[in-house]
Amino acid sequence: MTFPLLTLLAVIMEFISSFISFLVGYYAMKGYRKSSLRGLLLLYWGFTILGVGILLRGFTITYVEIMVGHEGSKQLTALINLAGLIYSTTQVAAYAIFVADYALQSMRATNERNALLGTTVAVGAATFPVYRLFFIPWLELLAICMLSFVTVNAFINWSIKKTSESALVVSGFGLILLSHVFFLLLPLRETLLFVGQAFQLAGFICLVGMLAKVSRTNEQ
């Protein structure tokens, strides 16, 4: 089985995604310092928490797959479950902040909009231990609901602004949303983990593309 190579790929994708998340957060903080806009502060916290969560997951995969190997004991499974829960919780917290951010913007524009929150559905456990890091069904569903809200708002923003930067943001959030759909479908096929990760990375690459465009603004 060529799993070590796939694991390495998974870890690399996680670390790159995490780095980009921190980068977007850093840029949001820079903007907040200049403008004192609460929305940018929320973005900073959202992307920083998301970056920490992804980094945690990257380190856990490294520990489990490279240091220990995937012949898991009960303690190891418990550790993975705990790490997965921490990761998923930080992720949901980050998306909740994005939801709050967009809700804040929407309230400014239209006064009222209700955020949708997910329902809990029991789905069978994943077959491979490390998948537990990606697969906590009810948290995934919650993440999907929140990211759907964020993506729809990013889409509305793009339809108003029609700028390439807002297009990259909607693509970024959309691809990250799709990655969670793949993570939710993990019980169907294990390779969906890597498809999901690739989508997640593609989403973050869109966000870094947006940053690159913004940084070049005054050179154009």
């Binding site: 004192s36 929305g39 967009y102 913007q105 913004v214 005054n218």
Partner: protein
């Protein structure tokens, strides 16, 4: 945000509009020209210009007995940086 009612402008936005107006005039401008460029009343403009002088973003000078406001390097950097922040914020639907 495409609201038809009069939009609220943050202090940062007003500063940026004033500095941008001076920049468009070649880096120095009389208050009357800034008034139109930044769309402010005379009283509010004076108040904000005083604050910008305090922050070191503009300096006040006299030319032919009239006040002229000149953009400092710090002020120029602020405008350029503001454009980037504005683009970044707008990409996420945040209005400055």
């Amino acid at each position: 945000m495409n609201s038809e009612h009069k939009e609220y402008r943050s202090k940062t936005r007003i500063y940026a509009d004033i500095l941008n107006s001076i920049l468009k005039q070649g880096g120095k401008s009389r208050p009357t020209k800034i008034l139109y460029g930044a769309n402010l009343s005379y009283d509010r403009l004076t108040k904000h210009l005083d604050q910008l002088v305090e922050l070191g973003l503009v300096i006040e000078d006299k030319e032919d007995g009239e006040s002229v406001f000149k953009l400092t390097n710090k002020g120029r950097d602020f405008v350029l940086e503001f454009v980037k922040v504005e683009k970044f914020a707008e990409a996420f639907g945040i209005t400055i």
